[in-house]
């Protein structure tokens, strides 16, 4: 295996806009909001950025194609800027581009920007759109909730979990994320809810009700990265470094080969093994301090905690109900509210997850700050459908850990 990315790149500064229904802001306005915070945090001048990566998922709804909208929004000095798209994992892809550029020595300081302006469609939920001219001929008429809902039916069948027991654990996930989101001033949804409210909510795609689904939001997040040496030379202490970055893409096995039972993510398991190895983590349940996972739907979070090898297979329901992933539990998951409540502006989400890890490790998370000092934080950013998807994992942590 390659030597990997561990400790080669440090986070110099980060920023994140408020997420939500930003009726009066264009995507470019959101970018500037996140950028101003990040560049001030980094303590550098814009001219010191050597290259930038720009992640958006549904650019036809807002900025259009190419990296030019980013370069224009931030008036970047004709540096290399690349737009990346990988479904909902687009923000993580921008981060990966910037991190790899620094690690390779091609750039001293690189920037990753993610943005999505979704609340211009005229309706709730993600934009309904074509899937490509050939796919449109035979793909099922599937929405995001409908695709992910099927995890629940397959999971129930495989692990012999009763429908109401599973639904109750899913409800616990959403209640926990709303609790956490209520303590996050930048979160889209800040109201507390209870399990009965989740259980009795209108059905979106069986068995996912309204509160099993994350918010669709406008927002942007920015990361500026450099080498640990340069970070120190700029006066930074207690660095947060990148420990692992792994990506896994479906190859058709789940969608077309009968070896997948539909109850888990093939890609997440593949990427997780590699990520732990890259970070030198041997006992993730003991070593990872906190998670930000892609809780687009409550059931996604539930099966993901098994696919990341934290809960044993078939046991996530018990860990969830035991409060293991609550803000005051053994390993908090979505301490910032997650996609569920912080919100899900697609291209920004992967960077938003890293932003939270960065704040927590710097003790800057305010009311929601984890009391026990975090060492390793892991983000899980998923794009696509359970049967064909992209899984992007990032582990960040204290330098030297």
């Amino acid at each position: 295996m390659a030597a990997g990315i561990k400790d080669k790149v440090a986070i110099l500064g980060m920023g994140c806009s408020a997420f939500g229904e930003r009726w009066n802001d264009n995507a470019e306005d959101l970018i500037v909001e996140a950028f101003v915070e990040a560049i001030e945090d980094a303590g550098i001048d814009k001219s010191q950025i050597d290259a930038a990566w720009f992640g958006t998922g549904i650019e036809e709804q807002h900025v259009g194609k190419s990296a030019v909208p980013l370069s224009m929004a931030l008036r970047l000095p004709n540096i290399p800027v690349t737009r990346v798209e990988n479904y909902c994992a687009s923000g993580s892809e921008a981060f990966r581009g910037a991190v790899y550029a620094v690690a390779s020595g091609a750039a001293d300081i690189a920037m990753a920007v993610g943005v999505e302006k979704l609340k211009d469609t005229g309706y709730g939920g993600l934009p309904q759109r074509g899937r490509g001219s050939v796919n449109d001929l035979f793909w099922a008429n599937a929405s995001a909730p409908g695709s992910f809902a099927q995890l629940a039916t397959a999971y129930r069948a495989k692990h012999k979990v009763g429908a109401s027991d599973l639904k109750r654990a899913m409800a616990h996930i959403s209640v926990k994320s709303h609790d956490n989101g209520s303590r996050n001033p930048k979160a889209h949804l800040r109201n507390k809810i209870d399990e009965d409210k989740v259980m009795n909510a209108p059905m979106i795609a069986e068995p996912l009700g309204l509160f099993d689904c994350c918010g669709v939001s406008d927002g942007s997040a920015v990361a500026i990265v450099t080498t640990p040496e340069i970070a120190k030379s700029l006066g930074k202490k207690d660095l947060v470094t990148v420990k692992a970055m792994q990506l896994s893409a479906s190859n058709g096995r789940e969608a077309q080969h009968n070896s997948w039972d539909g109850s888990h993510f093939v890609t997440t398991r593949a990427a997780a093994k590699r990520a732990y190895q890259e970070a030198g983590i041997t006992k993730p349940r003991d070593q990872i301090s906190m998670f930000e996972v892609h809780d687009c739907f409550s059931i996604t979070e539930l099966v993901t905690m098994e696919d990341l090898f934290i809960s044993d297979e078939g046991r996530a329901v018990h860990d969830i109900m035991d409060g293991f992933y609550d803000a005051d539990g053994k390993i908090p998951c979505q301490i910032d509210g997650g996609l569920k409540c912080f919100g899900h502006p697609i291209g920004a989400s992967g960077l938003r997850m890293i932003y939270e890890m960065y704040l927590q490790m710097n003790g800057r998370a305010g009311e929601r700050q984890r009391s026990e000092e975090p060492v390793f934080g892991m983000t899980h950013n998923l794009g696509g459908f359970p049967h064909q998807n992209i899984c992007s994992l990032t582990i960040v942590g204290k330098e030297g850990a």
Binding site: L137, A140, S143, G146, E206, G252, H257
Partner: protein, 489 residues
């Protein structure tokens, strides 16, 4: 050797709209419709049209027959989805027939179905391969019109040829008379009807008997010897009146399926013929006569081979596969008779690249996937590189048809977010018994019946998307629960 009927098939949509519900909606405007408010009519699902129903009737008919050995596919309808794209050609494609075949549409008359059958009988005489005749109808009717009550949607199919026929054709005769009892034209979407009493006295009772008398005379069969008389008209007592006039025994008059199906337009003569064959005995003489700008009369004699028929759901099986529909609004919506609020999600462009469709037609219309000749893995769609992670061989896949295979359901949902003309949209992963899988739309799901992982599913040919902007519709296959009632006898 004379050509005859080798096999039959039938298809009626599962939903049965209760006529009492139609009447409830219209009693205020026309209390006289009460007389039509008994019983139920077949009602096509939103994703069914004359093509898809023809395909299902043809699949039922061809069950057990060699599809490579057909000389022609004829399709008869007055409600073709396409006016300039051959509809029979779409049917032939969905049936995965080879291209060395004649395809032909029979249109524009309520006797198009019987005429297609008559032509097939003549053409099969000069061909060594059988002709498949399908006829189907899905008429849009004006709200509160009698036709809305008395009509139904459905299809029938007959395989016509020489050899071991279950019924041989003794004779046929056509009277062509431009008698316009009703019409539907380029300028109007709906039937325009003239007075029923005139149609009965001057039309049915004069034109049909002329055709019937001539057909019987050609065959040298006495009217008194007719066992079953099929006359596909909804109006009460008309068939009995014609029988009386022609000397056909009253007990020979066949049920016009008005109580439990409705009159299925130009397909109805064939539907009644199939229904008659389902209970026929060797030696029976079945007479069918149609009516539409004249009359076709065809006389058949049932052979001993009828006793060996099996494996067809037919009309009998279709009648048994039934779900009561009590929501008249749903019927209006499915037939575009009211201006429904569909939401902005429905505005997504459903344009079909015609070159894309042609290049992928085996996948999209025939549901042909691939089987790797190196590792044996079956997969959908067929691709250049094998999906088996331990194989990955390139250019090793041979055609592998999926349409007639059953699978089991691995996962499912009922989705109320995605746009569907009949929410919720049901879909899930179907895994085929011999390999291969597909995240597939489901259709004909009864919300009162529990779906469960592992249940058996089969594939049916349906409309995938309507492109109203360009007047196009694309077809694909959808999964539906295997229903005991459609398993044949």
């Amino acid at each position: 050797m004379a050509a005859g009927i080798l096999a039959y098939g039938g298809y009626l949509p599962k939903s049965r709209l209760q006529r009492s519900e139609i009447f409830k909606a219209h009693a205020w405007v026309n209390p006289g419709l009460k007389g039509l408010s008994r019983g139920e009519r077949t009602m096509a699902n939103w994703d069914e049209d004359s093509i898809t129903m023809s395909v299902e009737a043809a699949r039922d008919c061809l069950n057990g027959y060699d599809r490579d050995n057909l000389s022609a596919v004829y399709m008869a309808s007055t409600t073709f989805p396409f006016t300039d794209r051959q509809n029979a050609g779409v049917v032939a494609d969905a049936l995965n027939l080879n291209s060395s075949i004649q395809t032909l549409d029979f249109a524009a008359s309520q006797r198009a179905g019987s005429s297609a059958l008559g032509v097939a009988l003549k053409s099969a005489n000069s061909s060594d391969a059988p002709v498949l005749v399908t006829s189907s109808e899905k008429r849009r009717t004006k709200a509160a019109s009698p036709l809305e009550f008395t009509s139904g949607d459905g299809a029938a199919a007959l395989l016509i040829g020489e050899g071991d026929v279950i019924a041989k054709c003794l004779s046929q005769h056509t009277e062509a008379v431009d008698f316009v009892d009703h019409f539907r034209s380029e300028e109007g979407s709906f039937d325009y009807n003239w007075e029923e009493r005139w149609v009965r006295d001057e039309g049915y009772l004069k034109i049909a008997p002329a055709a019937i008398d001539a057909a019987l005379e050609k065959a040298g069969v006495a009217a008194a010897d007719v066992t079953t008389f099929c006359f596909p008209v909804a109006a009460r007592n008309v068939a009995a009146g014609i029988a009386k006039k022609c000397g056909i025994p009253a007990e020979a008059v066949a049920d016009n399926l008005q109580a439990n199906c409705g009159e299925v337009g130009t397909a109805h003569a064939l539907i009644m013929l199939v229904h008659a064959l389902e209970t026929a005995k060797p030696g029976d003489k079945i007479l069918i006569a149609s009516f539409g700008q004249g009359s076709d009369a065809l006389l058949f004699e049932v052979t001993d081979a009828i006793t060996k028929v099996s494996g067809h759901a037919g009309i009998k099986g279709s009648l048994a596969r039934r779900k009561e529909e009590t929501n008249y609004n749903r019927f209006m919506a499915f037939n575009n008779l009211i201006n429904m609020e569909l939401g902005i999600r429905a505005e997504v462009d459903k344009n079909t690249g015609l070159s894309t469709l042609y290049r992928n037609r085996k996948m999209a219309q025939r549901m042909i996937g691939g089987k790797c000749t190196k590792c044996g893995t079956v997969q959908f769609p067929k691709s250049k590189m094998c999906v088996n992670e331990n194989c990955g061989a390139i250019d090793t896949q041979e055609d592998y048809p999926f349409a007639d295979r059953t699978g089991s359901m691995n996962s499912y949902t009922a989705d109320r977010l995605t746009f569907s003309p009949d929410p919720p949209a049901y879909y899930g992963m179907i895994q085929f018994e011999e390999g291969g899988r597909l995240m597939s739309d489901f259709t004909d799901i009864d919300p009162n019946e529990e779906l469960e992982v592992g249940m058996k599913m089969k594939m049916v040919f349906r409309v995938k998307d309507f492109d109203y902007k360009r007047g196009f519709r694309r077809y694909f296959w959808k999964a539906t629960p295997v229903d005991a009632a459609t398993q044949g006898e």
